[in-house]
């Protein structure tokens, strides 16, 4: 694992170069215009509360996004000064534009709120005000500009993603351990080890399935499930539902395969690994990979990253499990050596692909300090260094390596949590 320092340096070097990427839907224009677009809540003043003043009532409210989006629920709501909803019918989406007809004859300040799902299956919402004729008071809007998203929804969705990564590592990483570590050793099968490893795979399946429920619920909460039951339905009908369905499908397929896998079929094991790679590609649809051009580059980089991460974490977990199983004492040394080699390669791939992903999503090194996204990348790097340190210590320090591995695993789980938070945040553009 010593060799992995070079890619870390490469990562730091590549961060200096700008990368062009779009992700997470943002409003880039509107009709009538949003006076306070891009103004943070802290410095928003009363003008944001009343917005632009137009003389003639608009017939249509149109929002232009930075990328094609799907409206959620009615998509755009327009509340008149009297508190009445004045949009007519659900919003229409056409490419990057979302529009809705309105009846805004009343004079005063109107509040437009929108909810969409972006191409990378992230839910976004926001609102702004405009006034017809003269401004009137709309209490609570300033504080609420773009900050209405429910925090618990974000946390729940991020938890779901972390659980998904963990499920991936358990479910497919344990298969990778069989294929990459146990099979080449050619050692006789130990029933107790076999059972312990299948337990990991089953746990992985359960985590993968549960994770999707959390993600969907998180998105729905984020968009305000309370007070609008249709939000859950709309989240399911959007890209979120599409990707969730596919990931759930992969989890179910792995479950279906379990019976045959447990007979020791090597063909099924290979199919299972292919399924794991497929899931890594599918994952790319739900993170920022879809915003990278060309699309294939984004998906491949992301898939490599996810697969390498899953292999690494899965192998470490499986190694810890194997260590405890009685009856493998004679194989311990060989297994540890082989697992170390597999983990090293996985780390190399993960770091390399991670560097590419950062390159794709950051505009420059400055983002590392100024944006949440960048700070999380720095935190991931720090966690990675801790993990590598622990892994090296396990090799160099004499005595039982198990405690070091446990430490490595704890740091790895922290890394997974950071990764889950990272894919839930908008990258800087």
């Amino acid at each position: 694992m010593r060799r992995s320092l070079a890619p870390v340096a490469a990562l730091l070097a590549t961060l200096a170069a700008p990368g062009g990427a779009l992700a997470h839907a943002r409003v880039v224009g509107s009709d009538p215009p949003d006076l306070c677009a891009g103004v943070s809540a802290r410095i928003a003043d009363s003008r944001c509360a009343t917005g632009v003043v137009v003389a003639a009532p608009p017939l249509v409210i149109r929002l232009t996004f930075n990328e094609p989006v799907q409206p959620i629920g009615r998509g755009i709501r327009v509340v008149a000064p009297s508190g009445r909803r004045v949009e007519r019918g659900p919003a229409r989406a056409s490419g990057r534009d979302v529009s809705v007809d309105v009846e805004a004859a009343e004079h005063g300040t109107y509040v437009v709120s929108w909810r969409v799902v972006s191409g990378d299956a992230q839910s976004e919402q926001g609102r702004f005000a405009f006034s017809v004729g003269r401004p009137t008071a709309t209490p609570g809007l300033v504080a609420g500009v773009g900050r209405t998203a429910s925090g618990s929804g974000f946390v729940l969705a991020a938890m779901g993603r972390a659980l998904h990564f963990l499920g991936y590592a358990l479910g497919f990483g344990s298969l990778a351990f069989r294929w990459l570590v146990l099979r080449p050793l050619g050692a006789p099968r130990v029933a107790a080890l076999d059972r312990a490893l299948w337990r990991l795979t089953r746990l992985g399946v359960a985590a993968l399935l549960l994770a999707e429920a959390l993600v969907v619920l998180g998105h729905a909460l984020r968009l305000g499930i309370t007070g609008d039951a249709d939000v859950l339905a709309d989240v399911l009908e959007s890209r979120v539902g599409l990707v969730t369905g596919q990931r759930f499908g992969v989890g179910l397929t792995l479950w279906a395969m379990l019976t045959t896998l447990e007979t020791g079929s090597s063909i099924t094991l290979k199919l299972g690994l292919v399924l794991g790679i497929a899931l890594a590609v599918i994952d790319g649809q739900a993170v920022h990979a879809v915003s990278v051009r060309p699309l294939a580059a984004g998906l491949v980089t992301n898939a490599l990253h996810v697969a390498a991460m899953g292999t690494w974490v899965g192998v470490v977990i499986a190694l810890l499990v194997a260590w405890r199983v009685a009856g493998v004492a004679t194989l311990r040394g060989a297994i540890a050596k082989r697992a170390g080699r597999v983990a090293t390669i996985a780390v190399l791939v993960a770091v390399g692909s991670g560097a590419l992903l950062s390159f794709q999503h950051l505009t420059g090194t400055g983002d590392l300090a100024t944006t949440y996204y960048g700070r999380l990348i720095v935190a991931k790097l720090a966690a990675l260094i801790v993990v590598l340190g622990l892994a090296m210590a396990a090799r160099r320090v004499g005595g039982a390596p198990e405690p070091w591995w446990r430490g490595e695993l704890a740091a790895l789980v922290a890394l997974l949590l950071l990764a889950a938070a990272l894919v839930s945040l908008p990258p800087p553009v």
């Binding site: 009908e237 599409l242 596919q246 499908g249 179910l252 395969m257 379990l258 079929s265 099924t268």
Partner: protein
């Protein structure tokens, strides 16, 4: 007494059994055509009466449910009353029910006519009829006859759709419905004239039976409760639950969901009704290939793995369907090929597994119940799909959900016979997935 003349004319030229097969074939084809109609009626009915997708789907679901539930009892009914009498009554019932829908004004009438009357009427004209005719009239070529009659039932459900759809588009839905009822009325006199219950009735032996073969006594009337006894036995068997559970999902994902909702879903994505109907029809044609190949494979491979692949691929193609709608016709054509080859390909392996599990002597009744759960699944999907469409405004969740349960079925079928199967040796490699 034209019937007698024809009977006399046929004698010496060919075995009368082939006339019976031809009449049965036509009847099954007509019944299948009738059952396929709701898919093309869905949107016209919504437009004319302002009913929701859920309302129309409910009638279809009642129809599918009664059609399936009646299956296990249909055999007993035909034993008692005679095949011909049951066929004639059913055809009359169905033609009247279908014809009367042109006069309806409220949605409960659709449920009564289409759901109850047509559902019960077509229930007797299902696979059990084909099996009965083949068994009574043929000692040789039974497989061919059964294959022919099964195909007419499964494929007939889809191949008329383009014609019906173009009638709906150009002349209106009432004319399409009247055409369907009219076909029933045309077949009815043919059945009345030409159908015979049993070769002995006209002094014949079953086709291919040597003249010196001992006359097989007709089996005693099956007791009316036999299906219920079989059901009770099945409910205690893990494999029965696995088989009927996976077949439930089969029905859910084929005639319940795709058969009922593919056309309206396509139309909502801007695909013309006739094109969408042709898509279903091509699924029906490919189905013949798929089912034949599947029958061949089921003799050679472990049927559990076959079913696992069928359900797995079906699940994947359903997960892919929302993309197919977005990609114009190429994606949908790919979907049709995938789905068509898989449509009733599940039947031969499921029937074989049922025979292996319950023994050949019980398989009739047990498979009857497993098939009933197929229709129960179809009914669930027909109504559930409509309900979800009404609530969500789109079919994405429905198709993805159906894809996911197909993957569950892929897992279920692998677990059939596990309790009784000896634990495989640890090092044994099992082919397939």
């Amino acid at each position: 007494m034209i019937g007698l003349h024809i009977e006399r004319w046929v004698r010496g030229r060919m075995h009368y059994g082939w006339i019976v097969v031809a009449v049965t074939f036509l009847t099954l084809l007509a019944a299948a055509g009738i059952r396929s109609t709701p898919g093309v009626l869905m949107i016209p009915l919504e437009r004319e009466f302002g009913w929701t997708r859920a309302t129309v789907s409910f009638a279809v679901s009642v129809n599918l449910f009664l059609y399936g539930l009646f299956g296990p009892f249909a055999a007993g009914l035909m034993d008692r009353l005679g095949i011909r009498r049951v066929m004639v009554t059913s055809l009359a019932l169905v033609a009247t029910g279908v014809g009367l829908t042109t006069l309806m004004t409220a949605s409960w009438q659709l449920t009564l006519l289409w759901g109850v009357v047509v559902g019960l009427g077509t229930g007797t004209m299902a696979s059990v009829l084909g099996a009965m005719v083949a068994n009574r009239w043929f000692a040789e070529r039974r497989g061919l006859v059964l294959g022919l009659l099964t195909a007419s039932s499964a494929t007939g459900q889809l191949v008329f759709l383009p014609l019906l759809a173009s009638m709906v588009v150009h002349v209106g839905w009432r004319s399409a419905v009247l055409l369907v009822a009219g076909v029933g009325l045309v077949v009815l006199p043919l059945v009345a004239l030409l159908m015979r219950d049993d070769p002995r009735e006209i002094g014949l032996r079953p086709f291919g039976e040597p003249a010196d073969a001992p006359a097989i006594p007709r089996p005693a009337h099956a007791s009316a409760t036999a299906p219920l006894v079989g059901l009770a036995r099945g409910l205690h068997s893990r494999d029965f639950w696995l088989l009927s559970g996976s077949f439930f999902i089969c029905g859910l994902s084929t005639n319940g969901l795709i058969g009922t909702h593919l056309i309206p879903a396509s139309m909502e994505h801007g695909i013309p009704e006739v094109t969408a109907a042709s898509l279903l029809a091509s699924i029906g044609v490919l189905d013949i290939v798929g089912t034949t190949v599947s029958g061949w494979l089921s003799d050679r491979w472990d049927n559990r793995y076959l079913l696992c692949w069928y359900y797995g691929l079906r699940g994947l193609s359903l997960l892919f369907l929302p993309y197919a709608f977005g990609s114009e016709y190429l994606g949908l054509a790919a979907f049709a090929v995938f789905y068509g080859l898989d449509w009733v390909a599940t039947v031969p392996p499921t029937a074989r597994l049922a025979a292996d599990t319950f023994g050949r002597e019980n398989v009739g009744i047990m498979f009857g119940w497993i098939a009933a759960s197929h229709q129960l699944g179809a009914a669930t999907a027909a109504y559930g799909g409509g309900l979800l469409r009404t609530w969500l405004g789109d079919y994405q969740v429905t198709f993805i959900g159906a894809g996911l349960v197909c993957l569950v079925a892929a897992g279920l079928v692998l677990r059939i016979g596990q309790a009784s199967r000896p634990v495989p040796a640890r090092s044994v490699e099992v082919a397939g997935a």
